[in-house]
Symmetry: C2
Subunit: 156 residues, 2 copies
DNA sequence: TATTGTTATACTCTATAACTATA
DNA sequence: TATAGTTATAGAGTATAACAATA
């Protein structure tokens, strides 16, 4: 609709390739920062991201957490083991369907969530942008995020 | 200079946090695509990215490759092992300093580089953006990339 | 039979430490 | 002694396959 595609295809492709490369680079830097900060909280990156997905008010079956994390069920076991050892999460058998184990966030887990989410939303790397630039970037990234892969974006 | 910082700090922080989260999400999707495509070339992601960094015209010491990949020397050994087994790279002792082993890209390696770089620059996820949006995104990401961490961005 | 969570297993990526051969 | 590459080892993330309990 509003796509003014005026660039010749080869130039467009070259430009896009450069943007993708720089995006990957920036994302790597962001992840590097975050992983270090999460480690400082005593959590591995994957465990921290799992905790981030849990809702204290609505215990989630492990199966659903796996889906949200885009990983196999079998991995969630070890992740939740870590969170449980740290006293941040409890497993509770679902009375309605005893096959399910729902993940309950403890009080300590709630406090940890606050810290984890502060890290996951840490925007040091965006400090160089003005407010308008930040807003523009947000719009563009959201547009990619929504329309980037219109078809089979369910699981992958 | 051109930073019109008019947003109240809390709102700015909330906005930035959202942008960072969406950026991370998009980057994850990009990496997911790429890793699958690199696997289809018979290369692990790390090996492919190592090959990408090599220059057929200027053999690189393994030490320098490690620096470019931001990883330890010891990892490069296994990476180059894979590339050598695949016939894409050769190790050659540097005559001037026999401690060094420079990495020579073979003819097959050159052809593989073309394919790898096509994947690494694959911009399917940006197809939803118009040319002007793409250019804007490129500028913003470059600005982050350069000014994001002004101080200690050497190794980390 | 089908599904959930678990276990066992394997592969990849990455880091540290110790070893070797050079310098 | 210092550096380059290697090896050994370990931890983290993720995947597949098989298993027990439950539906």
């Amino acid at each position: 609709m509003a796509e003014t595609t005026s660039l010749p295809a080869p130039e467009r492709a070259a430009l896009a390739a450069g943007v993708v490369r720089r995006l990957s680079h920036v994302a790597r830097a962001i992840r590097h920062h975050m992983d270090a900060d999460l480690a400082a909280l005593g959590l591995t990156p994957a465990a921290a991201r799992a905790l981030d997905r849990l809702d204290p008010d609505r215990p989630l079956p492990a199966r659903d957490l796996a889906e949200q994390l885009n990983c196999d069920r079998s991995n969630v076991t070890a992740l939740v083991d870590k969170l449980e050892e740290a006293g941040l999460v409890c497993r509770r058998a679902d009375p309605a369907d005893r096959r399910l184990k729902t993940l309950v966030v403890t009080d300590a887990g709630r406090r940890a969530q606050v810290r984890v989410r502060r890290v996951l939303g840490d925007s040091r790397l965006l400090d160089g942008l003005g407010d308008d630039e930040l807003a523009t970037l947000g719009d563009l990234v959201e547009k990619i995020s929504n329309g980037g892969c219109p078809e089979d974006c369910g699981g992958s």
